[in-house]
């Protein structure tokens, strides 16, 4: 009963965490817009949210884990090769931005696009916040029954 009330809050909570992470990644890109050789990063939000919310159900997580270990090695005696980035908690979540215009210093950040992404992410973060607030108000009024 109670988990039905908090399920939606959990979903929006993980969405909010991912939006905050994407905000941080875009801020890193904007900060490094003038650094030679910097490669822009971004988060594929759809995949990341699917991974984050799918991992809450235990059976799907174990199924994913078994397929990934069997795929990384051809033989059981082989050493398992980690396909995840070093020190990343969620594997494969971070990708690289596509370069729109080549630059001589090998910097792949497109500042206009990053700024647009930043504003877009800001609005979506605020939307998620409003969803959470609305859900909390709904539940409180349901509890109070007034």
């Amino acid at each position: 009963m109670l988990d039905k009330m908090t399920n939606r809050l959990d979903f929006h909570g993980s969405a909010l965490v991912l939006r905050a992470e994407r905000q941080r990644t875009i801020a890193s890109n904007i900060a490094n817009a003038d650094t030679p050789g910097y490669v822009g990063r971004d988060i594929n939000f759809t995949q990341a949210l699917r991974a984050a919310t799918g991992s809450t159900s235990g059976d799907r997580l174990s199924a994913q884990g078994s397929t990934s270990t069997s795929r990384s090695t051809a033989d059981q005696r082989h050493m398992a090769i980690s396909t995840t980035l070093p020190s990343s908690s969620n594997p494969g979540k971070l990708g690289y931005t596509v370069q729109t215009q080549p630059s001589l210093d090998n910097n792949t950040v497109d500042l206009d696009r990053e700024r647009a992404n930043f504003v877009d992410n800001t609005v979506r973060y605020e939307a998620t916040l409003r969803f959470i607030n609305g859900n909390a108000k709904t539940m409180l009024s349901a509890i109070q029954g007034q």
């Binding site: 965490v17 941080r24 801020a27 890193s28 900060a31 003038d34 050789g37 990063r41 607030n133």
Partner: protein, 134 residues
């Protein structure tokens, strides 16, 4: 709280850009200088940016890794009456290119503004997060 590190990232970028702006200022101030502190003609200085890891995963700040002096030969002007003219009557000025420095300055100030805007937005979002559920 992962969003707090935005202040570290953008703060490092703002600090690096202001150092770049400082170098531009000293280059522009010495654009017509004949002798630098060591008695030779002033040499233009350029900052070198480098990505810096900031605590959490894949969070990249900036730092100024080096300040390099330009090796372009200085401007030589024929002026025999000048006190620092050599035997042939030439005076060596600094090798600062004023146009390049102005472009550098505009780019630095734009990047500075961008990062300040990022910090303001992050602050607004964090304040709104604090009011969650009220």
């Amino acid at each position: 709280m992962s969003m707090f590190s935005i202040f570290n990232v953008s703060g490092s970028a703002v600090s690096a850009q202001s150092q770049r702006l400082n170098t531009v200022a000293s280059n522009l101030a010495n654009v017509d200088a004949v002798a630098g502190p060591d008695g030779k003609a002033y040499k233009a200085r350029q900052v070198v940016f480098q990505t810096e890891k900031m605590g959490a995963e894949h969070t990249a700040g900036v730092r100024v890794s080096a300040i390099k002096e330009s090796d372009v030969p200085g401007r030589r002007v024929h002026d025999p009456s000048h006190p620092s003219a050599d035997e042939q009557g030439y005076v060596t000025h600094s090798n600062v290119n004023a146009v390049e420095e102005m472009v550098n300055m505009i780019s630095a100030s734009r990047s500075y503004q961008n990062n300040i805007e990022v910090m303001n937005t992050a602050k607004t979002l964090l304040l709104k997060t604090l009011q969650m559920g009220q």
